[in-house]
Amino acid sequence: MSAAEFTEDTPSVEERRAAEALIIDVDGFEGPLDLLLTLSRTQKVDLRRISVLQLAEQYLAFVESARRLRIELAADYLVMAAWLAYLKSRLLLPPDPTEDGPSGEDLAAHLAFQLERLAAMREAAARLMARDRKGQDFFARGAPEAVARTRKTQYQANLLDLMQAYARLRTRDEFRPYAFERRDIFALEAALERLGALLPETPDWTALQRFLPEGWRGAPARKRSAMASTFAATLELAKQGQLELRQGDTFAPIHLRRKPGA
């Protein structure tokens, strides 16, 4: 096996440099299969005649040297390493007649197939992107004509819109209990009742804030809800002619009092 060039015994400077280049570039690989494909290129043979055993050794040497350099390898690189180590043992040992399952040759052939298929798809992708493309190399009519006197509205929606709408609905559904959390909501009815009770004792202008119930003046969410409901209640009572409202300026505090004579 010529994979000796990756063994740890006597790595030449160039070999170490080559190994490091690979490792430093590990982020550039899209996973173990991509790395294996790159390694297989060093064999300089048709992918169909590749030595999987040699490839397994190259990969294991790569993982080993990555460890030596304390490079963190993602789990899938290590899973592949374990699998290749197993494959290597299956390829090297004489077949055990008592053992079930695929032979080492079958596994190796499948790996070779995967590599060849990935390489073929990359090639196909490159050929596809190299084609003459609309808007780059050939063009549609620049000024499409639509000289109609009749107008028709066509509503547009695509599948993504549809799926998103449904997802949105269903997500909301799942969390309905939360959506109706009422602990921090001061209801308008409660505000009306409270304000109605306090009003007879409010002959003078009093700030709206003063009418917030105990326990609703601290936490911002609770305070906001109480303020909104109380304010809505003042509007309702003002409409009924029970109280008067006053605000000195925009955003100034709002004051209210019982309507004189009411």
Partner: protein
Amino acid sequence: MSADTDPSLFAAPPMAEQERMVEAMLFASAEPLRVSDLAARMPHGCDPAEALMHLRSRYAGRGVHLVRVGDGWAMRTAPDLGWLLQAERVETRKLSRAAIETLAIIAYHQPVTRAEIEEIRGVAVSRGTIDQLLDMEWIRLGRRRMTPGRPVTFVVTEGFLDHFGLESARDLPGLAELRAAGLLDSRPRPGQVAESDEEDESPRRGQSELFED
């Protein structure tokens, strides 16, 4: 024409080729092109004015004409065929949120009654929304439900499947797939009112500031 070294003195392409060039440029351009525009894009020594004349006679009597527009040239439908394009003018508008949600519910739950749609949406479904979807022929009436009141149900149509590129409504991805595809947002924080935040495009900060200390 001499095959000199100066590129501008190279022989211009044959007139048939120049005609092709002018044809392609006029076709692809969104605006009418002047002779000078054409000349600026063509190789040296070309004569777009002559190519235009050839092209004009080539298109004479065809379904499209080469016409003069201001001081430029453009291709236009032959006036006698304008009637063919009348159905062309379609205004496309985005479907309203209520409509797309209603449509999604019908697609995923069909056959489904109006009450069930309202149950899922959590709000009443306006008649206009249903009418619009019926009108677009994306939904139709299904069989009546055999429950008290025998309510009508709604199902999606072939036209719907065609528009959305689906073979059947069963091809719609399920919730698990929607989630895997990242279309389901992650769980909102407890206590947060689910509806308010994502849906409201207009920031509510202005209002809430009023109540902040």
